[in-house]
């Protein structure tokens, strides 16, 4: 039995088999800019099932937020499809999309910027209830706001405060309450803990997991922080330059990374143990992420990959299964990582 087993999760690859809540198929989101076309998302397919958390991790500019925004149709797909609750929403008009915004909610990184500074906490939380016409009169709305405050662990008297009177963690709780208001099928959490103090990050992660257990929520959890994604997710995907390069359960990705980029990412994460740090051998990647305007031919990671071979410039590797439920987009998946770790 693996020491990695979790009390609330079966070992190996068995995500809770709920129905598919959201699905992307070969999604491309390209942005025309004066410097050329930015291929922010360039062929991403994924599936999120009810009650699970899909983690998205990757470096800055890899396309995580754009993928999240596509699920709310806050960006227009260049090609590919977006399906939510069984319906293809790719071509929906702005009018119809308003209904989608109730089905899919989003929580942003900076709770300061995502809340209207002029609105009280109570009005902020009531806003989606009004927009989506979810509660009858003022009294019912007030009760619902109080219920939402309770759910996210905020005192009811905070309803009369303004965002600047709250701490960062409290503001993020307001953001979560707003997202819960419409009882969405899916909540996209885009770096929800990145701007919070270390001691408050754990509070928010526990809150999100508790709410998920109680309300059977479905999350897409986006973060830079691999350890946080590992902790929060049932399945996770690693992005690089607009593509998913590896996906699987956190245990698979963390313990048996099959893509050289994942292996390098894992080896770069500092661990809060000086003895471990002193003995660690890092895989230091050279150079920077190439421009998404002009991604490398063949494998996109080849310009930084310590295991790149001539074939890698010619063939664009597909995301292929390396074990049940575990996929990697590398021509030499597994072998390349073994070679890297041995050298």
């Amino acid at each position: 039995m693996s020491e990695h087993e979790r009390p609330d999760r079966q070992p190996g690859d068995s995500p809770p088999a709920g129905e598919v809540v959201a699905e992307l198929d070969e999604l491309c989101v390209w942005f025309p800019t004066p410097a050329g076309v930015v291929r922010a998302v360039d062929g991403v397919s994924l599936r999120v099932r009810r009650g699970e958390t899909l983690g998205l991790v990757g470096e800055s500019g890899s396309g995580k937020s754009t993928t999240g925004l596509a699920l709310l149709r806050l960006v227009d797909p260049t090609s590919g499809t977006v399906r939510v609750a069984g319906q293809e929403v790719t071509g929906w008009s702005r009018r119809r999309l308003r209904a989608l915004r109730r089905r899919v909610a989003m929580v942003f990184q900076d709770p300061q910027a995502s809340l209207d500074p002029r609105l009280t906490v109570g009005s902020s939380i009531a806003e989606p209830l009004i927009v989506h016409r979810l509660t009858g009169g003022t009294a019912a709305r007030r009760r619902r706001v109080e219920e939402l405050l309770d759910m996210v662990g905020l005192r009811r008297d905070l309803a009369d405060r303004h965002p600047h009177e709250l701490s960062g963690g409290q503001r993020q709780r307001v953001g979560i309450a707003r997202a819960l208001a419409g009882e969405p099928d899916l909540i996209v959490l885009d770096e929800p803990i990145a701007s919070l103090d270390l001691s408050v990050q754990a509070q928010i992660m526990n809150l999100l997991r508790g709410l998920q257990r109680d309300l059977r929520l479905t999350y897409v959890f986006i973060a830079h922080d691999l350890a946080a994604v590992e902790h929060m997710s049932d399945r996770m995907a690693v992005m690089y330059l607009g593509r998913i390069v590896e996906s699987g359960t956190p245990a698979q990705v963390w313990r048996q990374p099959a893509h050289p980029y994942t292996a390098a990412l894992l080896s770069a994460i500092p661990v809060a143990d000086p003895q471990v740090e002193r003995q660690r051998r890092r895989i230091i990647l050279s150079g920077d992420i190439p421009s998404p305007v002009d991604p490398p031919t063949g494998c996109r990671f080849r310009t930084r990959c310590p295991q790149a071979r001539p074939e890698c410039a010619a063939t664009d590797p597909v995301l292929a299964e390396v074990a049940a439920g575990h996929r990697a987009a590398c021509l030499f998946a597994g072998d390349a990582v073994r070679a890297m770790r041995a050298s």
Partner: protein
């Protein structure tokens, strides 16, 4: 305090006048760093990390009142004239901040900026300074430095810009490098490059480094000694192995436990209730008391615990030092 210290601060206190009253940003902080050694200042946002190094190097904002003693290379820095302080800083201290663009001028070439740092403080000719700029850009790992020397900051990525800032900081051959969250805005793979670079330069040049971060993992990798700050005070301080291996303050213990640990399984994380206090309204006793999982007794609430040794170089500010097994004990 050892005379070999490159920078030593004693009882450093910084109070900033604000519209809502005086904010005590730093309160009675002592630390020192020697040649070739790295001191890490770690703590959450607003704990006084930046303000303590700014005050120590004479860069506190005008509204700040700074008291205490600072010795830079054996000289009483606090008692020196502003002019002498500026010269000493320019000659002996290099700075790297979180956002490289705060240190870079967008309309000058990177070569010019690195060269200027050397010209001014080492009295190099323009030509020699340019050659030195190429050398330094090469040293910090800018590929084809001789060509890139005429590039502008916007033509570089975030990681490359931070390398340029490090080259500028090194241009005056400083005895002390102050790095305030130099990798916080960077991706982990780039962070690993920068950490490696600074460690390597330090080995070769013997520079003393004060590295500010909120990332305990980074501290574990770079520090010889560490000071854990909270609400303007040091709560725990000592060799990095002692502080991480046998944390004695309930705050340090809780902070180390609050991070998800992929090796430990996926149960709920240990949390610290509440949030850090405002510097405008600090509690009377131990500033951590309102959030402390130990919460010893009324004394914690009303009396400031002194910073006391738990072993020779390991100090902690609590009435209830934790034992190595995590139990709380009485002093």
């Amino acid at each position: 305090m050892s005379d070999a210290a490159v920078l030593a601060v004693t009882d450093l206190t910084v109070t900033i006048g604000t519209r809502r009253g005086p904010a005590r940003a730093v309160a009675g902080v002592d630390w020192s760093v020697r040649a070739g050694e790295t001191l890490a200042l770690v703590g959450e946002s607003g704990s006084g990390k930046s303000m303590s190094v700014l005050a120590a190097t004479g860069l506190a904002p005008r509204a700040a009142r700074v008291t205490g003693q600072v010795r830079l290379l054996g000289t009483d820095f606090t008692a020196s004239s502003p002019d002498r302080r500026r010269r000493m800083r320019g000659r002996h201290v290099g700075f790297v901040f979180q956002d490289p663009m705060t240190s870079l001028n967008p309309v000058l070439t990177v070569g010019r900026q690195v060269a200027e740092a050397g010209e001014e403080h080492l009295g190099l000719t323009r030509r020699a300074a340019r050659a030195r700029a190429v050398e330094l850009l090469d040293l910090v790992g800018i590929p084809s430095a001789a060509q890139r020397v005429d590039a502008y900051p916007h033509q570089f990525s975030g990681g490359m810009r931070q390398r340029v800032v490090i080259a500028m900081a090194l241009a005056c051959e400083p005895d002390l490098l102050i790095a305030d969250e130099p990798t916080t805005a960077l991706d982990v793979t780039t962070q690993a490059q920068i950490v490696e670079l600074v460690a390597d330069l330090q080995r070769r040049l013997g520079t003393a480094v004060v590295w500010i971060t909120h990332d305990l993992g980074v501290v574990a990798g770079i520090a010889d000694t560490v000071a854990v700050m909270y609400a303007g005070r040091i709560l725990e301080q000592g060799p990095v192995d002692a502080v991480f291996g046998q944390p004695a303050h309930p705050y340090t213990t809780a902070l180390l436990a609050a991070r998800p640990d992929p090796a430990a399984g996926g149960g709920d994380l240990v949390t610290i209730a509440g949030a850090p206090p405002s510097p405008l309204a600090l509690p009377a006793g131990c500033a951590f008391w309102p959030r402390c999982p130990v919460r010893g007794d009324a004394r914690c609430e009303h009396e400031l615990p002194p910073l006391r040794p738990v072993s020779t170089r390991h100090h902690v500010r609590t009435f209830y030092p934790q034992h190595a097994d995590g139990r709380a004990g009485h002093e």
